[in-house]
Symmetry: C2
Subunit: 370 residues, 2 copies
Amino acid sequence: MRPTTSTAASTPPRSEPTLGEPPDFDTWTCPVPLRDHDRIVMGHGGGGRLSAELVEHLFLPAFGIDPAVELHDAATLDLAGGRVAFSTDSYVVRPLFFPGGCIGDLAVHGTINDLAMTGARPLALSTGFILEEGLEMATLGLVAEAMGGAAQAAGVRLATGDTKVVERGLADGLYINTAGVGVVPEGVDIRPRRAAVDDVVILSGAIGMHGVAVLSKREGLEFGTEIRSDSAPLHELVATMVDTCADIHVLRDPTRGGVATALCDIAVAAGVGIAVEEAAIPVPDAVAGACSFLGLDPMHIANEGKLIALVPAAQAGGVLEAMWRHPLGRGAAIVGQVVGDHRGLVVAETPLGAHRVIDVPLGEQLPRIC
Amino acid sequence: MRPTTSTAASTPPRSEPTLGEPPDFDTWTCPVPLRDHDRIVMGHGGGGRLSAELVEHLFLPAFGIDPAVELHDAATLDLAGGRVAFSTDSYVVRPLFFPGGCIGDLAVHGTINDLAMTGARPLALSTGFILEEGLEMATLGLVAEAMGGAAQAAGVRLATGDTKVVERGLADGLYINTAGVGVVPEGVDIRPRRAAVDDVVILSGAIGMHGVAVLSKREGLEFGTEIRSDSAPLHELVATMVDTCADIHVLRDPTRGGVATALCDIAVAAGVGIAVEEAAIPVPDAVAGACSFLGLDPMHIANEGKLIALVPAAQAGGVLEAMWRHPLGRGAAIVGQVVGDHRGLVVAETPLGAHRVIDVPLGEQLPRIC
């Protein structure tokens, strides 16, 4: 790939990491003409000149990567050693753009968050695109810029990537896979099986926004107040928490399957019971209204900017205070406790004082949410 | 995810890493009933109970992973420190099964090879699946077993994964993304820009088999002899070469775009000329015949079990001998040299003594080849 200096100079201003709604495709301009293609053709996935041009003129500028960078089959990262976290997620969200974000920043935030749930500091992401023949170049450009902006805002490098193209009618525009690598700080050991009786369950904020935002956009539903996705990178919030209490037992981001699935997974993995106080879980009015209208349980709705932490009771106060000082933890609250009863089960006390078993949904009430 | 011991016991015998042709779907049996689904439904991608069952009862047994393993948002790897290689590739090959392999082992070999091209020892892969609603469970089972078999044969861990499901009509059965992490040995610095004048160009064996095998299966073409994909993991061959000559300058696997694109990329990246002796490049008769029939250039056809090495002239003999001792390097030959002339260009001397410029194809003559 021949480096050019003109490319960087003609890069349009980066979009905000969180895109507004609706995206303005007309303002996106290709840094240099991609052989006059305003749509993806099969050859963009062929590994030849068109593929190279797509990387050089669309992805590198959008990702904010110096076009003189040396491209290779794999990126190399210098690590001081120790434990490395490694995760992957594919993103097939529909629609591609929704209130509060798009598939691009979602794909960056989601994998950063998976890494952060081990306490890791995320270092680098890979970006694997599967593009549909006929996809508008402007759409891809906005998605790529959202990825670049999200990665830069998070201080994470988009280190290596790949692009494939499939025929028209497949892939629904585009799918993205991001895998990520991070470093787990010395002494940090955060994983589901470390949940222990008497641990306090902390939730970082209000739930249900991502799932309801995507659903409402997709189905053309309006619920009065517009609900925006909570998509956000949680690694800095986690770093703050780890600095306060390196002995956090479990972290989990309640994405697909929602808070219910996250808690159930932990209860089963660690063989503990989890008692939840339902009234303590913040559910925005608009989410509650949408769920009531649609017959959904907010506990099953996906989030992408929230986390659940299980911490030793003695340290819960300090962790909470640290979370409140971070913008993404301002709504943090204690919502439950790990108990020796009903091992493997999550039981919620309802606002009326009754108890109900919280279960994992069988499938997904809201498919294609991430 | 509840660990079971019965799962492991009822796992069927693993398929060979390289599947025969045609695959026998009838012999694949699900280790335990996946809720009586013999096809993928949307709920298998929902993050709920069906997703968990797919992981527990299909992927873990197929990958040969102890069902008691602790699953988490990210895997952690212990590294001694140093340089880590990181790569990703999505696989959209059609058909899913072809002579000599399937999308599963291809996805393992391809990312292992990308890592190996930095000289890295591959350690772990992630597996990201995008499944089409309605995909037969037996198909997915065979693909997953081929991945598990290929990873075990290569000594690489399938460390972390993700599954999404999209509606019927999208995704063409399934797509796979694998990202990989490896460790680059001390003192090894292999990358395109290290190509230097007088370096010898070595090709590890005969070209064109993967592309022609996939194409012939897809289009129902017969070329006399059946051509089988050369899909294979190259990291052990690379380790042998590095042991002989730690100062290998460049390695490249000529996948999409073929040997032509790989050499052109190196010539441009390093600003050197590459002179190729066309008669020295081994092209099997069946590949030559197919290319002649179809009007394709064997130099543009994708491979997945071959590599190109650029090594200092003084060490070429030793590297070649080391390659010949490895099963995947038995056909290794010197095919060219780096020159100070025609910088940025690859020029081949034809068998008739004429010279032609070898160029990168514009798009892809054979889409969906990997």
